[in-house]
Amino acid sequence: MSAQTSSETGSIQTSGTPLGRDDLARLVAKDIKPGSFVNLGIGQPTLVSNYLEPEQDITLHTENGMLGMGPEAKGDEIDEDLINAGKIPVTELPGASYFHHADSFAIMRGGHLDICVLGAFQVSATGDLANWHTGAPDAIPAVGGAMDLATGAKDVFVMMTLLTRDGASKLVEACTYPLTGVGCVTRVYTDKAVFLTGPDGVQVRETFGCTLEELQALVPVPLTAAPAVER
């Protein structure tokens, strides 16, 4: 695949403003192919479930042993034996199944999940993911299922703000935080743009509230416009 030239960048879809958390979740939900088996990570990725349409027929996996997870349980629905990976009470949908922890991670590690959606501290230009540990010397490390999700799913989508509070890009040449997985991220959904990551470098699918040139000024890795087929 040849690199895209800057003359083609004008054809990237650009919307007027940066996306909020819910808009981003709606966009990720829309991009999930019908019939997919999906694991949504704790935190921002969980919002995606609010925007999945029944016609998409998406089956949600939770690593504590269930396929066919339904929405968060409310009131009388709350059952202490039925929780998600974030330990939030959830519901079961018709057709749900339960299995033990090793089977649940075999579903993940065996490459059976189509997509997992994760948050991130940093993503590198080649799709390395850092999302479990800041590396601070006094931090208590806790990894949970992050490394299994990152290496096991067919596609790993990251949802994050593009910039830290200090204005530094979280899309980086090489991660400075401890890695969760190597070369595992395939797409990065941010408030300012959707990026495709892989061995060919970083391609931009669409931008929100900025041009590709303005985006490039924020991000320390070379960006190219994604071919139309990817958009």
Partner: protein, 219 residues
């Protein structure tokens, strides 16, 4: 041999100082709280505990840690909003932590129960949790060698047992129960109900009774 035991205290009485104890549960689901409380009361010390977490709030495993009875935790996610007893011991250097990715934790436990001496997995490859471990490229992917986790005792919670020790669980409370039952030399299950032999549909048994040594009914 299978024993039906009247009290949780008698069920855990044989747990010795220095034992490795697996404790089932993920969050509160499937956590054998009564057996953990009994382990607290029985006084065993210098324990290595295998659990997904490292105790929450002021109950169960968190109290065992607070009282200095746990020498080492093997877990995937010790740090939580309410893991203050573990946090304090860890920061004081009074507890050892072996941090294991959750899928490796589950598979290492499963491997122990299945008599497997180890396995290669891509999980953790290229990360600090693989430092010092043997690696290989298999099918073009970097993989890390992981070894089984055996235990002296497993404390698990199931919904029902029958007279042969067969177990069924309830919803996501199943989690680590079946694999821990197989991985430990001695498995103690607390159950809500005991039914006679033949009272469970053999097609629906999740943990065959061969893995279970002691059963205690907890109301």
């Amino acid at each position: 041999m299978l024993n039906f035991i009247d009290t949780v205290g008698e069920a855990v009485a044989g747990i010795k100082d220095g034992s490795t104890v697996m404790i089932g549960g993920f969050g509160n689901a499937g956590q054998p709280f009564e057996l953990i409380d009994a382990l607290m009361d029985c006084g065993a010390r210098e324990l290595t505990v295998v659990n997904n977490n490292a105790g929450q709030g002021d109950q169960g495993l968190a109290l065992l840690i607070k009282e200095g009875r746990v020498k080492k935790m093997i877990c995937s996610f010790p740090r939580q909003s309410d893991s203050w007893h573990f946090d304090a011991k860890y920061k004081a250097g009074e507890i050892e932590l072996e941090l294991v990715p959750q899928g490796n934790l589950a598979e290492r436990i499963r491997a122990a129960g299945a008599g497997i001496g180890g396995f290669f997995t891509p999980t953790g490859y290229g990360t600090m949790l693989a430092e010092g471990k043997e690696t290989r490229i298999i099918d073009g992917r970097g993989q890390v060698f992981e070894t089984p986790i055996h235990a002296d005792v497993a404390l698990i919670k199931a919904l029902k047992a029958d007279g042969k020790g067969n177990l069924v669980y309830r919803k996501t409370a199943r989690n680590f129960g079946p694999i821990m039952a197989a991985a430990a030399k001695h498995t103690i299950a607390q159950v809500s109900e005991i039914v006679p032999v033949g009272g469970l549909d053999p097609e629906n048994v999740v943990t065959p009774g061969i893995y279970v040594n002691s059963i205690v009914k907890v109301a």
